[in-house]
């Protein structure tokens, strides 16, 4: 791992790395889709039998797809990515998580929210496309919503701390630092892979995050290759640092608020979260953790390492 950087190694090594990279690319697949749609070959056959293979197929017209609803979402993702002016993307080695580097200000959903539009490029040609079903991040309320901390956020259903493990289906861990104490509320979101979110209110130990009245958010979810994963849309002024939590790879994302997208088992956006502030991402086995705090990088790592 800690060996000579790739660019200094012989051609044969670089070529081997490229061959190996093929296994790590999210190649499109031919189906059949998990939703039960036909595979690509069957669609091609059906189109031939419908008389489309005359050599005069008008590109962009009358294309079949697996399911109209799914297609709309796929298109939405593509347009979203185009608008985000992708500069690169990387798998992080954390189950269920992927980073997409782009510019959230370029997304039509990004205006008017917390995210400061930084030199927003306008997607003129994409503007002519039919209105995509982009996930709409909920505007961040200026005042705390009534109820326990986290009530105003799309976190799912409130649950009791004593039923966390049973409802999540995995062991939910908590910071052991007595200054932080137990969370003030807990939530489970059945629409996003039973993601569990624990919320702490603000106090002396936990200054407010970008969410009013919220001192810390801790999200835990089971992310696997097949069970959906998160994408994050990051702006140019958001930085990602590789850090260590308990000796394992973790990422500290800070700077401008950024946005999460959930991608479901079939690979499209199903749901969205709001803008989030500084966040630490790490994994332990199949569970991926996300800690949102304004305490800074070192304190966030300390909290993460204290979790039991």
């Amino acid at each position: 791992m800690a060996e000579q950087p790739l660019h200094l190694r012989p051609d044969a090594v670089l070529e081997d790395a490229l061959r190996g990279l093929a296994d790590g690319i999210a190649w499109p697949t031919a189906g059949p889709s998990p939703a039960g749609g036909p595979d690509l070959a069957a669609v091609v056959r059906a189109r031939i039998e419908a008389g489309e293979a005359t050599g005069a197929t008008a590109p962009g017209r009358s294309r079949w797809s697996w399911r109209p609803a799914r297609r709309a979402l796929v298109v939405a993702v593509i347009i979203l990515l185009a608008l985000a002016a992708l500069a690169g993307a990387a798998g992080l080695g954390l189950p269920g998580l992927r980073l997409i580097f782009g510019d959230p200000a370029a997304s039509p959903t990004a205006s008017g929210s917390v995210g400061p539009p930084a030199g927003s490029p306008t997607g003129s040609s994409a503007g002519t496309a039919p209105s995509p079903r982009l996930p709409t991040p909920l505007p961040t309320p200026r005042t705390p919503a009534p109820g326990p901390p986290g009530s105003g956020l799309p976190l799912g259903t409130p649950i009791g701390l004593d039923e966390l493990d049973a409802l999540a289906g995995f062991h939910v861990i908590l910071p052991s630092d007595p200054a932080i104490g137990p969370p003030d509320s807990a939530w489970i979101d059945r629409s996003t892979n039973d993601q569990v979110t624990l919320v702490w209110g603000t106090d002396g130990a936990l200054p407010e995050t970008i969410e009013p009245g919220v001192g810390m958010l801790l999200t835990q979810f089971r992310g696997t290759v097949n069970d959906g994963y998160f994408s994050k849309i990051l702006g140019q002024d958001t930085t990602v640092e590789l850090v260590l939590v308990d000796g394992g790879r973790a990422y500290w994302i800070s700077g401008q608020p950024h946005q999460f997208f959930y991608e479901g088992p079939r690979g499209f956006v199903e749901d969205s979260r709001r803008w989030v502030g500084d966040v630490l991402l790490w994994a332990d086995g199949p569970i991926t953790y996300r800690l949102e705090t304004s305490l800074g990088r070192e304190a966030a790592i300390d909290i993460a390492e204290s979790m039991r």
């Binding site: 670089l14 061959r19 690319i25 050599g55 590109p59 185009a82 990387a90 997409i100 290759v225």
Partner: protein, 180 residues
Amino acid sequence: MIDRARAGDVAAYESLVRRYQDVALRTAYFVAPEADAADAVQDAFLKAYAALPRFRQGAPLRPWLLRIVANEARNRRRSADRRAGLALRASIASPHDDAAPSPEAEVIAGETRGLLLAALGRLRDEEREVIGARYFLGLSEAETAEALAIPTGTVKSRTSRALGRLRVTLEALDGGPADG
């Protein structure tokens, strides 16, 4: 099978599509990562069906098909000024995957993979195409030449130039995991 398909046997052609659809999807994806690969491949297979009577009997089918796929995918590229860079997306490699990683995959750790993907994203389209054909699909130089519609000599020179540019970009990127 090809002869039957050429004679209008749609079921035979469906079998051919099924045999080549994965390699076709990969080709469409690395040629135009921003486009819908499945759409491009569907249309390419329709065009190939219509063009089958012109396919030279006895010639290898795969590069001939991939040439049509690559063309179809190129037509779906966004204009260069609409793209700040281009991203092949990494799959999520779970450490608990059942399948053992290939020896080559073990060579590159996660961060390196991210770097390599980012560096690939900064190559020119034609350079990414030869890298994809040679290393992702494992095509020979001759097959690559046929699929990308370029002379074999150009495959060699373009591959070597692409590797050189990858090195330069990797070196530039190596300062940090993501200083976007």
